[in-house]
């Protein structure tokens, strides 16, 4: 303590400021949602042969948004047939021409970016700040990036003469509906494949609006087909004999099922599955930025992120200081209406997911971990969950092992770099890891040893179309993004 006299107060006391952020809602009517959506097949929307529709709801209000066709095997077959028919023409088109379609789509996405961001938030529950500032810019960027590859594929992989594979069946998740579409559709089309895409059951709307954009862009009929539905629709896509390539992003459980389904066939397969990312903070880290990194690592998109940094490892010598800082930072998180521009943490995507989160959090408490939640108020309707921090967690706890896919962070401590690596790698997953330290050689040492497809050093949850993404071990195989991501959609002699 210094002996300095810090005389306070220059002015008479002033009444405390009423400092409130706007309930500054993005206008929901920026996007026009239809009452009913069909399937998008062969360049147009059709009523499903199944005659079945599912209701997509807004998870923040539990109110229905629209009815969406649920494709059955017949519908999927129709889509695959259209994709097959379109394949020779699309594959034969010069790369330069294919590129221009994708560039055009990228531009149209940018033009309608706000509208699509609102749609994404309404259908999925993610904060508008994220759909506006992260998802949509990246969606356009993926099309822009891959467009440029379409006429340069022979330069991407030395010694190969690459060709498109054929019809790609793509099954995507609900956490980044449009971004996952972009990750899959853009490279597939750039490489000359045609696509049958199945968006997630709870978030089909943006894919259908995207289909509309593709049609307006003049994309030849059949090159892109969208078949909404649930698990059975996905199974129909995976099992269809005329599909040449399957790309799946979702749970490890379903990924394994798909692996079994395509066993013994000639279908090419890439899987982007679950994770239990380790976020490691050393005592010499830039602490306040590490706090932001940890917060972003687990609360970005309500923790519905396969690469979420859901296991925090703090070096024991700073654990108290760091966790104090983290707790007070959590108090500042704004949880609530996803359409509010000031919201940091939005709605949990579905009732089922909320239940799973609640179940695992309960398990964490029963196993004796200490739980902290900020005192924020939650909306009365909709699916919401408080940002949650567990301390005193052991490796053997379920909350340290299982993917929660929600805003729940499990904290453990470590003493040495060796121990940090050992604990971080002690999981069947291997998607992403984070390291915070100021010491350069330690970063490289750690990066060499962490068994995960992405290592974020002194940052977290960064994505870019030029940067390959994908897992080790049970987090799946194959990469998406970058030059490496193209390979999943090409065949060549010698490959």
């Amino acid at each position: 303590m210094t002996d300095t006299d810090h005389t306070p107060v220059l002015h008479p006391a002033i009444e405390p400021l009423d400092w409130g952020y706007a309930s500054s809602r993005e206008a929901a009517d920026l996007v026009k949602i239809s009452e009913r959506y069909g399937l998008f097949v062969d360049g147009d929307f059709y009523k499903p042969a199944s005659k079945r529709y599912m209701t997509s709801i807004n998870p923040a209000t539990e109110e229905p948004l629209a009815e969406v066709a649920e494709a059955d095997e017949k519908d999927v077959d129709r889509a695959v047939t259209a994709a097959r028919k379109a394949f020779p023409g699309w594959a034969k088109l010069s790369g330069a021409e294919r590129a221009k379609y994708l560039f055009r789509i990228a531009r149209m996405l940018q033009e309608r970016s706000r509208e699509l961001a609102v749609l994404e938030t309404l259908d999925g529950g993610k904060p508008i700040r994220e759909s506006r500032d992260v998802d949509l810019p990246l969606v356009a960027a993926h099309f822009f990036y891959n467009a440029g590859w379409a006429d340069k594929l022979e330069y991407a992989f030395s010694g190969l003469k690459p060709e498109p594979i054929g019809v790609a069946g793509q099954v995507i998740p609900w956490n980044f509906p449009l971004l996952m579409l972009a990750w899959k559709v853009a490279p597939a089309l750039a490489a000359g494949n045609t696509v049958v895409l199945k968006p997630a059951e709870t978030t089909p709307l943006s894919a259908l609006h995207f289909a509309q954009i593709a049609a307006e862009a003049g994309l030849p009929p059949g090159v892109l087909n969208v078949v909404p539905g649930a698990g059975a629709t996905g199974a129909a896509v995976v099992g269809h004999p005329d599909i040449d390539k399957i790309a799946f992003t979702g749970s490890t459980e379903v990924g394994k099922e798909i692996r079994r389904r395509v066993a013994g066939t000639d279908k090419r397969l890439t899987l982007e599955l679950g994770g239990k990312g380790a976020h490691i903070v050393f005592a010499d880290a830039p602490l306040d930025q590490a706090i932001e990194g940890v917060v972003n690592g687990i609360f970005f998109n309500q923790g519905h992120v396969c690469c979420a940094g859901s296991r925090l490892f703090v070096q024991e010598s700073i654990a108290d200081v760091f966790l104090d800082k983290l707790k007070s930072r959590l108090e500042k998180l704004r949880v609530g209406d996803p359409l509010d521009k000031n919201t940091d943490v939005g709605a949990i995507n579905s009732a089922a997911q909320l239940q799973r989160i609640e179940m695992l959090v309960e398990a964490g408490r029963e196993e004796g971990a200490e739980m902290f939640q900020p005192a924020c108020a939650l909306p009365e309707r909709g699916f919401f969950f408080r940002p949650t921090l567990f301390t005193g967690v052991s490796q053997s706890h379920r909350i340290a092992q299982e993917e929660i896919f929600g805003p729940v962070l499990s904290t453990l401590t470590f003493r040495t770099p060796d121990e940090a690596v050992e604990k971080a790698n002690n999981t069947p997953y291997g998607l992403a890891a984070g390291v915070w330290t100021t010491k350069g050689s330690r970063i490289l040492w750690m990066a060499d040893r962490l068994r995960s497809g992405v290592v974020w050093a002194n940052t977290y949850n960064k994505f870019d179309p030029a940067s390959p993404f994908g897992g080790y071990k049970e987090s799946g195989f194959g990469r998406e993004g970058g030059r490496h991501g193209l390979l999943a959609y090409l065949k060549a002699e010698g490959l």
Binding site: M1, T2, D3, T4, D5, H6, T7, P8, V9, L10, H11, P12, I14, P16, L17, D18, W19, G20, Y21, A22, S23, S24, R129, D133, F282, A283, D284, A285, P286, L287, D288, Q289, E292, G293, S317, I318, V321, F322, D324, K332, K341, N342, T438, N458, T459
Partner: protein, 316 residues
């Protein structure tokens, strides 16, 4: 093992090695992450009812400043009048916090603000370079306080700081603080000359340990001056120092803040980092000359619903 994340508080008369260790224990700063954080915070929008309060608060937080070689008594009188009553057409607009001037202008400013409650701040310690012997700096400090300055804005010796002579910087601030007597001391780090955010954070921690009542970004003579990343890092240092010692220290970004929109962004960063306890002129100031008129224009726009013209606001 590395040093603890936040150093121990310094003893009253620290040794050279104690000061070195204290500064060495300050955590590093990642520039990219800081920039990212402020850009996220810059997307915050505050509600309409709060906006008026925020603008008025920003007015009340202004250290209305003129620090030029061509300053004259006339200029200082006009500026003081503006500070006391920023918008003659709207008496509900509050006065600024202080008028900030060169030492020679202190008596004039003091007289001009009269009993309005507006403070007079003087730069001292051979502003802006600080390149002078310590006894001259102390003498200047005593003189401005004697002349009536309520607040003293000193500059640190950046040369000594960058050369690693932390004890020297520390002792200089301590002695200036003593020379201030009852006057309030703001310590200017001149962050634009420190080069990195790491140094900004270290200098902040050092200045606070030495007795700064406020830490302040810049003289306004060097660009870049008060940026949001620099301000965030200094606010984080204030938070750490408070956790370490229980002492609350104020913050003054100065230089380059010209629009109400920017000012509100600073307030958002302040609120998110330190909270409401700092959201008063007692703990936060803007050092600015042209910011005030933009604040006034925005206040009038909120009141009238018409976009404003500079011709309707006094330039002093």
């Amino acid at each position: 093992m590395s040093l603890p994340a936040v150093a121990e508080p310094l003893p009253a008369k620290p040794s050279r090695s104690a000061v070195q260790a204290y500064v060495g224990g300050v955590p590093s700063v990642d520039e990219v992450a800081v920039t990212e954080r402020v850009s996220t915070l810059s997307t915050r929008s505050i509600k309409r009812e709060s906006k008026m309060a925020a603008l008025e608060l920003a007015v009340r937080m202004c250290d209305l400043t003129t620090l030029e070689g061509k300053d004259t008594p006339g200029k200082v009188r006009q500026l003081s009048a503006k500070g006391v009553r920023p918008d003659p057409a709207d008496p509900s607009v509050p006065s600024v916090a202080a008028i900030c001037v060169y030492p020679n202008m202190v008596p004039i400013a003091k007289q001009a603000v009269g009993g309005s409650g507006v403070k007079v701040a003087s730069v001292a310690t051979y502003f802006p370079s600080g390149q002078a012997p310590l006894d001259l700096k102390l003498d200047e400090t005593r003189r401005v306080v004697d002349a009536g300055a309520d607040e003293v804005d000193m500059v640190i010796d950046r040369g000594a700081f960058l050369a690693g002579r932390y004890l020297e910087v520390y002792e200089e601030i301590r002695e200036v603080k003593e020379a201030c007597g009852p006057a309030h001391l703001k310590v200017i780090l001149e962050t634009g000359e420190l080069g990195t955010l790491d140094e900004v954070r270290k200098a902040s921690m050092l200045a606070m340990a030495a007795g700064a009542d406020f830490i302040k970004t810049s003289t306004g003579k060097i660009s870049p001056a008060a940026t949001l990343p620099v301000t965030l890092v200094m606010l984080e240092a204030i938070r750490d120092y408070g956790a370490l010692t229980g002492v609350q220290v104020g913050m003054k970004p100065a230089g380059g803040i010209k629009t109400a929109k920017e000012a509100i962004r600073f307030l958002v960063v302040l609120n998110e980092t330190l909270g409401l306890a700092w959201m008063t002129p007692d703990w936060f100031r803007f050092g600015a000359s042209s910011l005030l008129n933009d604040l006034l224009m925005q206040i009038r726009w909120l009141k009238t619903g018409r976009y404003q013209s500079g011709d309707y606001f006094t330039k002093d």
